[in-house]
Symmetry: C2
Subunit: 363 residues, 2 copies
Amino acid sequence: MTKSSGSRPIGDRRARISDVAAAAGVSTATVSRALTYPERLRPDTREHVLQAIRALGYTPHEAARSLRAGESRMVLVVIAYLYSGAFFSRVINGIESELSASGYTVITGSLDGEEGKARRLVDLVYARQIDGVIVLTGHVPVFDGRSILEAGVPVVAVCAKLDHPGLPSVLINDEECAKIQTQHLIDLGHRRLIYVSGVEGHYNEVKRYAGYLKSAKAAGLKGSDSLRLAGNYSFESGADAARAFLQLKDRPTGVVCCSDELAIGFMKTVTGAGLRCPADVSIVGFDGIEFADYCEPTLTTIRQPRELLGAEGARILLQELNAVESRKSSSRVLRGELLIRASSGPPPRLRRKQVLRVAAAAR
Amino acid sequence: MTKSSGSRPIGDRRARISDVAAAAGVSTATVSRALTYPERLRPDTREHVLQAIRALGYTPHEAARSLRAGESRMVLVVIAYLYSGAFFSRVINGIESELSASGYTVITGSLDGEEGKARRLVDLVYARQIDGVIVLTGHVPVFDGRSILEAGVPVVAVCAKLDHPGLPSVLINDEECAKIQTQHLIDLGHRRLIYVSGVEGHYNEVKRYAGYLKSAKAAGLKGSDSLRLAGNYSFESGADAARAFLQLKDRPTGVVCCSDELAIGFMKTVTGAGLRCPADVSIVGFDGIEFADYCEPTLTTIRQPRELLGAEGARILLQELNAVESRKSSSRVLRGELLIRASSGPPPRLRRKQVLRVAAAAR
DNA sequence: TTGTAAGCGTTATCAA
DNA sequence: TTGATAACGCTTACAA
């Protein structure tokens, strides 16, 4: 809008609401309403205002909006970077799609090592810069006695569970999946199994190990519970576990891993040492990351619905953000799925029999 | 505001600066200074104030600070999600470490597909919620004619180059690295090479292909320039390229890939089809992602200094943010490094000779 | 349906 | 060294 030169922002200054108001010949309140409650304006007024907004390239100053409205429209996603990348990127994708559709901006903050990181995240929330939090980790940032859980913003846990009353979480059926994963090896004929763990004490780790044990016990496998190698979800720790495995005198034939990275690191190391997979040793992973399709052999694993986990967590958070009162949203459990690929097969003993059987049939 | 009970925040209300001021018996200005310019206060005053801050658990309201101070202390990192994960996570790590040490918060925004994404990013910047931008993509978000480049905030490109005058960038010596990568295969004796590309027109792709061509031409290989398979950096497109490769009548023996994911997808597909790597075909990747150590065989590749690239970009951005005037910071070129692993070896013909030679020596 | 005007919680200017 | 006070740019009662 251009008639009166007074309506143009002076110089290079970014247009503000009063510039738009002047240009459109209305009050600032009307401009504000044109953006927030368009239906409350007379259509022609609205048109004028929107036109002026476009003409001046006006974008509301977010800090001012935030300050006045008492909300930031930002959500913090807390990750434990060290153990994440390949798996969590998709979960975060699901979160972002869902939240940005509702006008929220996502900040992801990692929580490894340094204390400074936790401090910054806690500060962010206490500075009222964050309206809600999604944690992908088993513990929440705490600094100087202040916890995000007490900051007065809604928190939702995804792929993790916190023992905080009333804190909603979105999980998969970890224990059940681990049972299936283990049972798969048992069904193939394996009688000696070993488990490669995630980080000690993590919810996922605890549940998956429990599932492993249950399947093993139910099948009458003995000693399987003592066969457990410590890991932390990473390639490297999978390789470490494999090196320990190679030292064992009477090696198990089936390996149940708490993550795909573990499984792949393990696999690479044992095949590098001359074992064949799955001929000598079967390996199953957990997560369903992309790389599980491109390692050699391809990895039998549990596929988690990663985007969905994120999206569902975001949806629950949105409910809490819009909740009139502290009406608590409920948690949700999604289902993982066994993907059978090339890294699992019958154990060596059965394999020999099979071969003999085939040979006999051929005669 | 003042003496005893009036100095505590009422009810559950979060403490604000006036509460602290009252508790410490000073003005709000003094409280503000205690946090921003502690050296300007008398030590005992400062102590009183800091104590009150601690006692009340006061954290300044960021939106208010932002509004008044005219800066948000937020930096936007723009990524092209689709082609990123394994590689860029580390670059972003480098950026975050550097920026958060200077009190900045990082928001990462992906730029794939939907127009809505670009819109949100542009809005973020125009809403003055972003003080600076680091782009990890070849193009910058634009929406409705408004580009982040014209928003009046400093922009730095990392692992990418934009043709915008005076825009600093942090790169590696892509072309040089691609020459080294290609020369490595030539040195091993390969005479027929093929190139698997990144996204057409991307800076990295263009430079790497140029390097490939130069090495190939310099070695007198002919026809190498026509042997180029289209890809987009992903596992899947590497697999696609491999399927095309398998159809070729007279197959090259050396494969130069524009990314590690391409190389790994390619490798998996050709070995799955019965070719041996490197006995039948040698493959080299580019980037140095973690997976390159765990595929089979391990991948010969160019390692990029990922954290460093990010950190350096962040440092340049910080300079621009603190620059008194538009004193332009310069760009920077870091160096990649050839990592020779198991996926590259002599071509079949030479390999045979070698074997004969060994056999002769054994006699 | 639209306008007036009072803050939102800081920081910065100026004065004491 | 400290304090009073005026913005920063917006939203939202309340009034018209």
